[in-house]
């Protein structure tokens, strides 16, 4: 199951409690139910968001029944930071929007300095490498808008090294670098730990406990190196 959403933080530095989530979301039309741990993972909380109306028009075509329409939400809370995930990005955005209507100061998406993360993955002794890159063209040629690159180690490729300066990358896929740069046996999606965006976007296929730990480790790498906005509280995630 792929989960997508955003990394959020409280600018006031106050802890994001479960109570805050409930009070932010619940009202006459919407409800939030806590359903325990997600896949028995510590700190990964499973919720069900209940809505009187479908969040997306296509929800009915997807076979959803309601009202209430039920959506899976997964949260990883840690002090003033939270990873807020759903089965679709649109759902996460909708619920975060609901949350921010009542909470003040609003929880904000954590902007990530993606270039710094990419630079670090370029080093041969780094733990991680880049398996996907999506970016916008910054040059003046109007015939090109965006670029997407996929591969086993994109930052080591000629096209990346020679053309990088022409693009602003807004999201990247990250995988673990193997010892001595051994070739990867399971290519593609399976080896990719997560997709991370400069607007705080995160997406991952949580297959097991190890994958969940890897996701948190990457988030902490970003936090520890302060590749985030100045206002983001400094603590790593639990």
């Amino acid at each position: 199951m792929i989960l997508s959403g955003y990394l959020l933080a409280s600018p006031s530095g106050k802890e994001i409690t479960q109570q805050l989530l409930f009070s932010g979301i619940k009202d006459a039309k919407y409800d939030l139910l806590f359903e325990g741990q997600f896949k028995n993972l510590r700190h990964w909380e499973r919720y069900e968001f209940l809505s009187g109306v479908p969040i997306e028009e296509d929800d009915l075509l997807r076979g959803m029944h309601g009202p209430p329409f039920r959506y899976l939400i997964v949260c990883v809370r840690s002090a003033a930071k939270m990873m807020f995930l759903a089965e679709r990005k649109k759902v996460a955005e909708f619920v975060i929007g609901r949350l921010n209507r009542k909470i003040f100061p609003n929880l904000r998406r954590v902007s990530i300095l993606l270039d710094r993360l990419i630079d670090s993955c370029q080093e041969q002794d780094s733990e991680y490498l880049i398996t996907a890159l999506h970016g916008r063209f910054s040059g003046s040629d109007k015939r090109v808008n965006k670029i997407s690159l996929y591969g086993d180690d994109i930052t080591d490729s000629t096209i990346f090294r020679e053309q990088r300066h022409l693009f602003n990358f807004y999201s990247c896929g990250i995988a673990r670098r193997l010892y001595d740069n051994l070739l990867r046996m399971n290519l593609g999606e399976e080896s990719e730990i997560m997709l991370i965006g400069n607007d705080g976007f995160v997406s991952t296929r949580v297959v097991d406990r190890d994958r969940a730990s890897e996701v948190i480790r990457i988030i902490n790498l970003v936090m520890k190196n302060r590749w985030v906005d100045d206002w983001v509280p400094g603590l790593e995630m639990g």
Partner: protein, 230 residues
């Protein structure tokens, strides 16, 4: 440019004594400079012919008493937007530039926000003087002569790498059409890594004061230009 204005095919190098050279430089220096500046500005900043024409003509139309300069402004505009068209054969380059200019001027006139009728005068001038049969110099001839200046800009003053650096903004995001999530007249905390890219995206051709203030406010408080490059 001197050849065209004199109506001769080619000035022989022998027929250009130092005095004539001085006269030519004195006569054409300002116009040559303006054409090169505008081509430079277009390539690095505006990038889009519609946006450039509407922006620049909106400014010119706000200045009183420069109606006599409309022919020069027409040539200057044609030259600037041609810097993107130089790979085309001359006839196609000229026709495309003319079409882009006429289309944008008509669009501008339709807004009814212009403070003078220079755009209308420009359209009439293009219609009458584009290609004239007698000995008078036409827009097309003047344009052909000035295109050398545009080639100079493209060859010696333009770099795709620098152009990309000017618009480099690490905060550009997915989804939104131009990469920014700003909504006009709404205040956001999102940082701006390239003030020029932000301006180019949100600077409209309208003269709405609130919108201009919103743009300035964002540039003043959200710009992280230095940080983005550190």
């Amino acid at each position: 440019m001197e050849q065209v204005s004199q109506g001769i095919d080619e000035l022989s190098p022998d027929s250009i004594p130092p005095d004539l050279m001085k006269t030519i430089l004195r006569r054409w220096r300002r116009q040559a400079q303006e054409i090169m500046v505008h081509a430079f500005d277009f390539r690095y900043f505006y990038r889009d012919s519609g946006r450039y024409i509407e922006g620049i003509w909106h400014s010119w139309c706000a200045i009183a008493g420069i109606g006599d300069r409309v022919p020069e402004y027409v040539l200057r505009t044609l030259c600037a937007i041609s810097s993107n068209l130089l790979k085309e054969p001359f006839d196609r380059c000229a026709e495309t530039a003319r079409l882009q200019l006429e289309t944008a001027l008509r669009r501008l006139i339709e807004t009814r926000e212009l403070m003078s009728n220079y755009a209308g005068e420009a359209l009439t001038h293009i219609e009458k003087e584009w290609e004239v049969g007698d000995n008078r110099s036409s827009i097309l001839q003047g344009y052909r002569a000035r295109l050398y200046l545009v080639r100079l800009v493209n060859a010696f003053l333009y770099s795709e790498t620098i152009a990309a650096q000017v618009f480099n903004d690490p905060h550009i995001t997915r989804g939104a059409s131009e990469g920014y999530r700003f909504k006009r007249n709404e205040f956001e905390l999102a940082p701006i890594g390239s003030p020029l890219r932000f301006l180019s995206t949100y600077l409209g051709s309208s003269t709405d004061e609130a919108e201009s203030l919103w743009v300035l406010h964002n540039l003043a408080f959200n710009s992280s230009y230095a940080e983005a490059r550190s």
